[in-house]
């Protein structure tokens, strides 16, 4: 073949480009399979649940009559459990990630720990539920409480927080670290003034993605014994007298959104299916809102950082 013959060069290019067309069509199809399935599911759920979506739905306790049943105890429970999860997982996960990146000596022990942390993210959530049942509920005597559930989910998302922390710390250029040390900063000053502020966007994103996963978790919460029907709220977190806040709610029994949904889907009456669909719609919105918050925070916090 004459390598300089313009006709044959064009033929080769055309043959190569055919594959680009074929692949982009296949890729688009693959993408659409995922996106369209979700859109169809979400649309179906919305249509089915729409008639139930009113203010009453949010302010009513569950009830034997489908038309009067609401998700008050479920969304309050979910909110409080998520709060507990975040309070436990963020300090633990960030501290562990910072320790591994900035303090831990690099040897085989830390290598083993590292591999284990990564693998923990793949452990089925029900295993955490079982662990928590033995440890938190019975051993520590925390009972079937918001605290037990929050700690269980914290355990579940801890690897996600640790990995996100480590990755965003690793993205900080070494010359920035050296710049701080060269001025006489101690490791802690470097972490407090540089490492944490510059990695906070990535850490927050990781935390929120972890929380978005935890919010829909059902199995571990059922395992530790959350109620499926509950018609009262936990004690309020604030009070009229000093010190104005109160943590009794941590020990209260509770239910969460996915369990409420699960409970309604297992009823034979069609009216309850509409309730389940409406609750599912709310749950998906909660998750999407969290992801939106993650995107917003990442944008805000990274505005000043260019690398």
């Amino acid at each position: 073949m004459d390598l300089r013959d313009i006709q044959s060069i064009r033929a080769v290019i055309a043959r190569g480009k055919r594959w680009d067309v074929i692949f982009s069509l296949l890729g688009l199809l693959a993408l659409m399979t995922g996106v369209l399935t979700f859109v169809a599911l979400f649309a179906d759920m919305t249509i089915q649940g729409a008639p139930r979506l009113s203010l009453d739905f949010f302010t009513n306790f569950p009830s034997r009559r489908a038309g009067e049943a609401g998700i008050l105890s479920a969304w309050v429970g979910t909110t409080l459990v998520m709060l507990t999860t975040a309070m436990a997982a963020v300090p633990l996960g960030v501290a562990a990630g910072v320790y591994l990146e900035e303090y831990a000596p690099k040897n085989w022990v830390t290598d083993v720990i590292e591999i284990n942390v990564t693998n923990l993210a793949g452990v089925p959530s029900i295993v955490y539920g079982l662990l928590a049942l033995g440890l938190f509920v019975y051993q520590f005597g925390l009972g079937q409480s918001i605290l037990s559930a929050g700690l269980t989910l914290a355990l579940l998302i801890l690897p996600i927080v640790i990995v996100a922390t480590r990755e965003s710390i690793r993205a900080i250029p070494q010359v920035i670290r050296e710049g701080a040390y060269a001025l006489g900063a101690t490791p802690w000053q470097t972490v407090r003034d540089h490492i944490l502020p510059y990695s906070s966007a990535g850490i927050l994103t990781g935390v929120i993605i972890g929380m978005a996963r935890a919010i829909g978790e059902t199995a571990p919460i059922i395992t530790i014994g959350a109620l499926t029907f509950i018609a009262f709220l936990p004690p309020a977190p604030y009070q009229e007298t000093l010190p104005f806040f109160n943590f009794d709610w941590l020990m209260a029994p509770f239910t969460v959104m996915p369990i409420q949904m699960f409970n309604w889907t297992s009823r034979p009456e069609a009216a309850f299916q509409a309730n389940a669909a409406a609750a599912g719609f709310v749950l998906v919105l909660m998750t999407l809102a969290m992801n939106g918050l993650a995107i917003f925070l990442r944008y805000r916090l990274r505005r000043n950082i260019k690398w």
Partner: protein, 262 residues
Amino acid sequence: METTANAEQLVAKAQAQNLSFYYSDYQALKSINMTVHEKKVTALIGPSGCGKSTLLRCFNRMHDLYPGNRYEGGIRLHPDNTDLLSPDVDPIEVRMRISMVFQKPNPFPKSIYENVAYGLRVRGVNKRVILDEKVEEALRDAALWDEVKERLDDLASNLSGGQQQRLCIARALATEPEMILFDEPTSALDPIATANIEELISELKEKVTILIVTHNMQQAARVSDFTAYMYLGELVEFGATDQIFIKPQKKETEDYITGRFG
């Protein structure tokens, strides 16, 4: 202490004594003996990979940040004759006395003001009046004040490359170090910014001892009083810059300087 022909007093600020350095098993510096004179500019030159940065980073114990690194011999810092490399000496103490400017400008993603103030904050200085005064003084000394005085709260990353490097110099100056280490401070800059930094370095030696690594021989000739030529981890020749560039004692030095090698 030695005396030159025109009776100018030379005071030793730092002395490397039989200094060897190892990256794990790899010996990057071989028994270096060298004196850095007070309030003079000393340049380290030599081909890529000869150990210039490695030697420079011994002076502020930067190598302590990474595992497996090992020093042998010592660096005496005067007037107190402290051995900087002694295990009894805290590397943080060393870095508080000797600051460093890096090859690429590396301002923190903070305001111009906070960049300069950071070294002081590390030392527990948090009073606004003191910080204001020191920040202004450092920025003036780094010939940056007039360009940034209106926008001290702007992000440092909005400055040009040359301005960023002068900001890093101001940051290093703000803590009144006894000595400043420069590792190829102009290699990422254009000729005009380079000329500014060179001029600045010549002015700074009134106040502080300077050790500078450079790839650029004209730069060494322009800014330094003393020059050390290194090759393969060894110090081949050390002397007054004029002497090294006009009549080097060693053939290898001459070959490198005249561009026959390197």
